[in-house]
Amino acid sequence: MNRVVNFDFPTDQPERAKEFFTDIFGWKFKEWLNEDYWLVETGDKIKRGINGSMIKRRHPDQKPTVMIQVENIDITLKKVIDEGGLVVFPKRTIPKVGYMAYFNDPEGNTVCIMQFTTDAI
């Protein structure tokens, strides 16, 4: 199945955003490879729910989104296009993690898809 496994949101001021979410929700932030990208640990691993990511804003109209895990990103991207979606951030390799892309659904909502595979180089 293709489940939502992560969420992400942009920020202009990472330090301010970190303080906001840490103070109110107890979230923990860990920077990922100095890429202006932070992994967000939202709570106890054994409790239901997902973790997230915070991204230093890369374009002005960037919005929060969710990440859907897929088995084969190429097949999913083809289906997205066939069904009237638009690929807005083409497939990108994240070494040893997997392949990632962003698309817009037919109403223009941006969504992330991720194929996890440690074979990705």
Binding site: M1, V4, D23, F25, G43, Q69, V70, K79, D105, N109
Partner: protein, 132 residues
């Protein structure tokens, strides 16, 4: 406090349901008789969360993730004290609990959900009774 649900807005719910069920195999079922369709995306123990498609005529809200909280009033107060804004004030949805939406300091919208304690009691009672 963890993200336990997500919502995707729809101006045309049929088109959105068709898209997500065709591309991702999600199954939809309408919530009561309102413009909200629960998206079943998989089965535990498979990791991940379910979500929903919401008709913008029901609630005009952007794509958002919903954070489960224990005390929604306390969290809303903290959000305001820290400079965040309430986007949709707290309301009660029978069978779900208390919901509200806020904007963080970067204008991102998130949802909040406090589970109705009566539902917890019922499901605990159900779990207890189902053991026998």
């Amino acid at each position: 406090m963890k993200v336990i649900h997500f919502e995707i807005p729809a101006r045309d719910p049929e088109r959105q349901k068709h898209f997500y069920s065709t591309v991702f195999n999600w199954k939809f079922s309408q919530w009561k008789d309102v413009g909200f369709w629960v998206a079943l995306t998989g089965q535990p123990p498979e990791f991940g969360i379910d979500g929903g498609i919401i008709d913008v005529k029901e609630l005009d809200i952007p794509l958002n993730s919903i954070i489960e909280v224990e005390d929604i009033d306390d969290v809303l107060q903290k959000i305001k004290a820290k400079g965040g804004k309430v986007a949709v004030p707290k309301f009660f949805e029978q069978g779900v609990g208390y919901l509200a939406y806020f904007r963080d300091l970067d204008n991102n919208v998130f949802g909040l959900r406090q589970v109705d304690p009566l539902i917890c009691k019922k499901s605990e009672a159900y779990e207890q009774s189902s053991k026998f």
